[in-house]
């Protein structure tokens, strides 16, 4: 498979795809948030509004057979990997036809049929699993790359470094993608991270590593495109996407006012990934409006599907625990 030609701006079809995917994630999370606020489902959700370019840029540079792990803020990764928004919304609603039959929820989105192997909600918890999956790929002589997304909250989890080391000594096809949105809930990455930061730490393990503008989907895609074939050949790598969430961590905190200033959030709003992309491409206003409307419609349909989807049978409580 040859790498897509650069500069990517020449490819209008790709532009449509990237904008459509980011719009889908935005529409999904806005709709999910409204439904959640209206009390249509329980638990909590973690929106990635403002971070869409990371998910879309990374996944667009992969082959369909590549595998992805995510975390508690994983709607964008799931949608970018091709999970059906209706099945996903039904999962948020806890319904039987949800992607995990209503037993996983927003923080445990999993859809094996599209290679979205799972979202682990313990910070950093999915990282060693990606290494193990890459070991299985390697052991079988398959070609897949295993990508694991994690937030800056995981930068100081020990298991990240155990996992980087294991991937390095065994030469496994793992791409580590850190979405550094600057905050682990309220604690800043700057405060929490000693020394030279994640990229230098990764290089110390022998990984190829670089920081990328996470608001720029084209830069994200270009970075991963340039790394991924080496990763496929067993040279693990890391991308640190510098990004920002334009909303609170979860339902419990506002976008600004507690640990972030309005000015700071407003400044990042200017670098909203959809706006950054619009400015960089020649998609017309009309074309963008059409894509956005189509994706909003798709998500409205997903919402309707979720609302009408059946609740799990009571017997589902005790299925898929162990055995049989």
């Amino acid at each position: 498979m040859s790498a897509p030609s650069h500069p990517l701006l020449d490819d209008r079809k790709l532009d449509f795809q990237l904008y459509r995917q980011m719009s889908r994630i935005r529409a999904f999370e806005e709709a999910a948030y409204r439904a959640y606020e209206a009390g249509e489902f329980s638990g909590t959700i973690h929106a990635s509004i403002g971070q869409e370019a990371v998910a879309v840029g990374v996944v667009s540079a992969l082959e369909p057979g590549d595998l992805v792990y995510s975390h508690h803020r994983g709607h964008g990764h799931a949608l970018a990997k091709g999970v059906d928004p209706a099945k996903m919304m039904a999962e948020l609603f806890g319904r039987a036809s949800g992607s995990s039959s209503g037993k996983g929820g927003s923080m445990h989105l999993i859809d094996v049929s599209v290679g979205f192997l799972g979202s682990m909600a313990v910070v950093g918890g999915g990282i060693p699993m990606a290494v193990g999956t890459a070991l299985a790929v390697h052991q079988r002589g398959d070609e897949a790359v295993v990508v694991v997304f994690f937030g800056d909250g995981a930068i100081n989890q020990g298991v990240l470094y155990e996992s980087m080391n294991l991937a390095a000594i065994w030469g496994l096809p793992v791409l580590f993608v850190c979405e550094n949105n600057g905050y682990a809930i309220s604690v800043t990455s700057e405060y929490a991270t000693g020394g030279l930061g994640l990229v230098e730490r990764a290089r110390a393990f022998g990984l190829r590593a670089e920081a990328v503008d996470g608001q720029d989907v084209i830069a994200m895609r270009a970075s991963v495109s340039a790394l991924v074939e080496e990763v496929r050949r067993g040279q693990p790598a890391l991308v640190e996407a510098m990004t920002y969430r334009l909303v609170g961590h979860s339902r419990g905190d506002p976008a600004h006012g507690i640990y972030r200033s309005k000015d700071e959030v407003d400044e990042w709003r200017l670098r909203d990934p959809l706006a950054v992309f619009a400015a960089a491409t020649d998609l017309t206003d009309e074309e963008r409006a059409t894509i956005e409307a189509e994706e909003r419609l798709r998500i409205d349909q997903a919402l309707q599907y979720a609302r009408l989807a059946p609740e799990p049978e009571p017997s589902a409580l005790m299925t898929d625990v162990w055995g049989a």
Partner: protein, 333 residues
């Protein structure tokens, strides 16, 4: 499948039986691989000795001292259909990997609505080895039996170790294999067969007066106590559970209803320990037919001491079982 070797009865130690089970499973199934520290040379207990030479270091993979990553790696490999056996030679070190085992391996099938299966086997050497001190002499079966999504096997002799390991390596969900370190050198008959093994308790010695509900090393202790008690006219039934999760509730009920007396033995502390679950089950199952209150033996509530005389006082023993059974039989007399 039966081969000539199947019918041959050998004498093997508990440790050798586990090695034979791993070897036979690896020969039969290319997806089985071993992950752990020093597994290529088989240090410290010799369990995996020779496997790297036979199957290659890609299937008998030494790991760095990174228990969390190793456990997560086993889980992530199992999810694609490999059958990793993760070795934790001293079971207490599993604490470093518990997030991966408990939050990922045990829950992913459920959290995925059945999309994912994790055919992972985790070998834990647990219990006191004699003077290894508090951090190398821990007991995990009770904690892990408390985790939905894990099965916990507790073999008591070489044949059982072989059979349960072969069984574990045929499952599609995670199995913890809790090996009592004191049993590694214990010898017994062994057939390397490929019979269909099912879980469930077995009566290791029949008796009419009381039931010792035991597993792992305590089976040896209870059988010794039963020999001594028989000299005194007391017939102790020894019920070997073989697994603590799932738990063979019916077998406990059948035995205790027959004998009317139960003593439940587990090497974890009485407070919150597995003997409490066993006692509750025995009480529920045999209520109305009990001739004495259900008795329990567990560890005293202290870390394992280094001094071996003290260490022996911490855990149940054949003597403490014998004394407790005598008290049970005399109860109300």
């Amino acid at each position: 499948m039966t081969t000539a070797a199947d019918s041959e009865q050998l004498t093997a130690t508990f440790a050798e039986a586990i090695r034979h089970a791993l070897e036979d499973a690896m020969a039969a199934d290319d997806s089985v691989l071993v992950l752990g520290q020093d597994v290529a040379v088989g240090f410290p207990f010799g369990i995996t000795r020779g496997l790297a030479e036979r199957f290659g270091k890609h299937r008998v993979r030494d790991t760095p001292i990174s228990e969390a990553a190793t456990m997560g790696c086993g889980t992530g490999a199992a999810l694609l259909g490999l059958r990793p056996v993760v070795e934790v030679d001293f079971g207490g070190f599993v604490m470093l990997g518990l997030d991966q085992l408990v939050n990922n391996a045990a829950k992913l099938r459920y959290m995925s609505g059945g999309q994912l299966r994790i055919p992972l086997v985790v070998r834990l050497g647990q219990g006191p080895l004699g003077g290894f001190g508090a951090q190398h002499s821990t007991v995990q079966h009770g904690w892990l039996a408390n985790v939905p999504g894990l099965a916990v096997c507790v073999p008591s002799n070489p044949q059982e170790a072989y059979d349960l390991m072969r069984w574990g390596l045929r499952q599609s969900d995670p199995v913890v294999f809790a090996e009592d370190l004191r049993l590694y050198r214990a010898k017994g008959p062994l057939r390397r067969h490929e019979a269909e093994i099912t879980l469930g308790a077995r009566i290791a010695r029949p008796g009419r007066d009381a039931t010792a509900i035991v597993f792992g090393h305590a089976v040896t202790d209870a059988l010794q106590a039963a020999d001594a008690l028989a000299q005194q006219g007391i017939e102790l039934e020894v019920l070997d559970l073989r697994s603590v999760s799932p738990l063979d509730i019916a077998a406990i009920g059948n035995s205790v209803r027959r004998t009317g007396r139960a003593i439940c033995v587990s090497d974890d502390p009485l407070l919150g320990g597995f003997s409490a679950t066993l006692a509750a089950v025995a009480g529920d199952q045999a209520h109305g037919e009990l001739r004495a209150p259900v008795a329990r033996l567990g560890a005293r509530h202290a870390p394992a001491p280094y001094n071996q005389a003290l260490e022996r006082r911490l855990f149940p023993s054949s003597d403490s079982i014998l004394t407790a059974v005598r008290e049970l039989v005399q109860w109300g007399a």
